[in-house]
């Protein structure tokens, strides 16, 4: 019996790291980095207390939200409508540009050079935050909604084309082959063998991106690219906190309505 005891085999879960020393080294590095970051910022208790007082003052200043001044209400509605319009136009323009880019960036159907061009367009579009694009667009075409539409369309391409290209890469190639075998040309093969397979995804992604564009259209105004953002920033700069809160609530309402619509439509196409 005793010999059987010593033969008993033990088991520990193999580590995901190279070995256990590497594992502990990684943990130590993370801990040191965390401590250094905290020390580097030098957040003192007094600073936290001061900040707390200021925060309470701000929130007090916000309540109740102001909705009685007719002039400000008009400003608000105008801004929101502009934001909404920007999001719709930017989505449509962005999607129209994205679809050919997505076909270019799908490895299974595009020749290698075209594929790299398509991927390149997507990467460049994904590299920058919309605010950076909005700043550039404002410089290029002037303050206003056009700059915002440019920024949002530009970002739509990176998002939409990337996800659609991945969808195209997952299609059933049999349907494409069968179309090819009838003597169809390249474009016809895409129209019959590929497009019907990714159509639900195109609709779903469009709605999803519209939903994102509504949210982003409220922010690009901060740099002068149209929409409610400019009004938001102005109210804040003028210490008009109760109007600021009204704008925030309105934005939340709009985003929620957009989300409800997009959830409903996406539910219908699944």
């Amino acid at each position: 019996m005793a010999t059987k005891q010593t033969d008993r085999r033990s088991w520990t879960r193999p580590t995901a790291f190279y070995n256990h020393y590497v594992k502990w080294a990684v943990y130590v590095i993370i801990a040191v980095f965390l401590l250094w970051s905290a020390w580097n910022m030098r957040i003192s208790m007094a600073r936290v207390m001061d900040g707390w007082d200021a925060a309470v003052g701000l929130v007090n200043g916000m309540f109740p939200p102001e909705y009685t001044t007719e002039f400000k209400n008009e400003l608000l509605i105008e801004g929101l409508i502009e934001s909404l319009a920007m999001s719709v136009i930017a989505t449509i323009v962005g999607v129209i540009i994205s679809i050919p880019v997505a076909f270019m960036a799908a490895e299974n159907i595009a020749p290698k050079p075209v594929y790299w061009v398509g991927r390149g367009i997507i990467t460049v579009s994904r590299s920058f935050h919309e605010l950076i694009i909005a700043i550039i667009a404002v410089k290029a075409v002037g303050i206003g909604a056009l700059a915002g539409v440019i920024a949002l369309s530009y970002k739509t391409v990176g998002f939409f084309a990337k996800l659609l290209a991945e969808e195209i890469e997952d299609i059933d190639s049999g349907q494409m082959e069968a179309t090819e075998a009838t003597g169809a040309n390249r474009t016809q093969t895409m129209l019959f063998g590929v497009l019907p397979q990714v159509m639900p995804r195109i609709v779903g992604l469009t709605i999803y991106r519209w939903d994102i564009n509504i949210r982003h259209s409220t922010i690009v105004g901060i740099v002068g690219a149209g929409g409610i953002g400019a009004t938001l920033l102005n109210s804040f700069d003028q210490y008009d906190y109760d109007f600021f809160l009204l704008i925030i609530i309105a934005i939340i309402a709009i985003v929620m309505v957009g989300e409800l619509i997009s959830t409903y439509i996406r539910g219908r196409i699944q």
Binding site: E177, T179, A181, T182, G183, Q188, P200
Partner: protein
């Protein structure tokens, strides 16, 4: 008339799927190609319409050399070759009518294809073909609403709407139950006879091949090891195709082909040994 000479295919992985197979299909005959999985049956058929690029040999359809064609010429050649697939390969989200009419894509402009603006005669003929395959009234169903047997009949309708000079059929019955398999085979041989087009079928079920084919070709490891009428396909020939068994001296008509094909019969697999014992 389809005439294939010394067709070879080596995949980039180094697999030799076809090691020089020659075959002629003429008139309105039905030729069945049988063989174990991995024998190169599908590769052979796909090399004919160049869905797979052959590495060597020649494929001639009515005197036109298909290997080496590209662009418009290849597309025009493909219009004359109807293909039916194992997994049907219908465009699932489109209607039955769109699937059938897609057989005419080689004849319409891209813009008209996008608008689904097909020729009136083609639409009329699509209705006729749907009736012929027993799917009248289903033209507005989506392809993914149909049963397996029905889908394969849409696949057949699409292929014959091309008015092909030959039908290539890749494992038409593998995804079907025995009943639907027979219906599909009946339809195929019927069409071959009526429209006077030859049919080349890859098939797993040997009994279906024997029943429906005018001629049977056996492939094994990328080489042709048997060619003859269904009556010639005796136990010796089966053993040779499926188990790589050696041909006894002076055995039937299969001996002749084996001699042409070279030394293939000499390789005896372990599986064969077990089965024989």
């Amino acid at each position: 008339m389809l005439s294939v000479t010394d067709l070879q295919k080596t995949y980039p992985s180094g697999d030799e799927a076809l090691k020089g197979v020659s075959l002629e299909v003429t008139g309105s005959e039905t030729v069945a190609m049988i063989g174990p999985s991995g024998a190169g049956k599908s590769t052979f058929i796909r090399c004919v319409n160049r869905l797979t690029e052959p590495s060597g040999g020649s494929v001639e359809l009515d005197g036109l050399e298909l290997t080496g064609l590209s662009g418009k010429k290849l597309r025009n050649a493909r219009r004359d070759i109807g293909m039916i697939f194992q997994e049907y390969n219908l465009i699932e989200r489109l209607t039955v009518m769109e699937n059938v009419l897609s057989g005419r894509l080689g004849y319409v402009s891209t813009w008209n294809a996008f608008r689904r603006n097909f020729d009136g005669d083609d639409i009329e003929r699509a209705y006729e073909v749907l009736e012929r395959v027993g799917l009248d009234g289903h033209e507005n169903n989506r392809a993914d609403e149909l049963s397996g047997g029905q889908r394969q009949r849409v696949g057949i309708a699409r292929a014959i709407l091309q008015r092909p000079k030959i039908l290539l059929v890749d494992e038409p019955t593998s995804s079907l139950d025995p009943e639907s398999s027979r219906a599909v085979m009946d339809l195929l041989t019927e069409i071959a006879a009526e429209d006077d087009i030859p049919v080349l079928i890859n098939i797993h079920e040997v009994d279906l091949a024997e029943e429906y084919a005018d001629r049977i070709v056996g492939l094994r490891l990328g080489e042709k090891v048997f060619e003859g009428t269904p009556a010639d396909l005796d136990e010796t020939a089966r053993g040779q195709i499926y188990r790589g068994e050696e041909i006894p001296e002076g055995a039937g008509p299969t001996g002749k082909v084996a001699a042409e094909a070279g030394d293939v019969g000499g390789v005896s697999s372990d599986e064969g040994e077990i089965r024989r014992s």
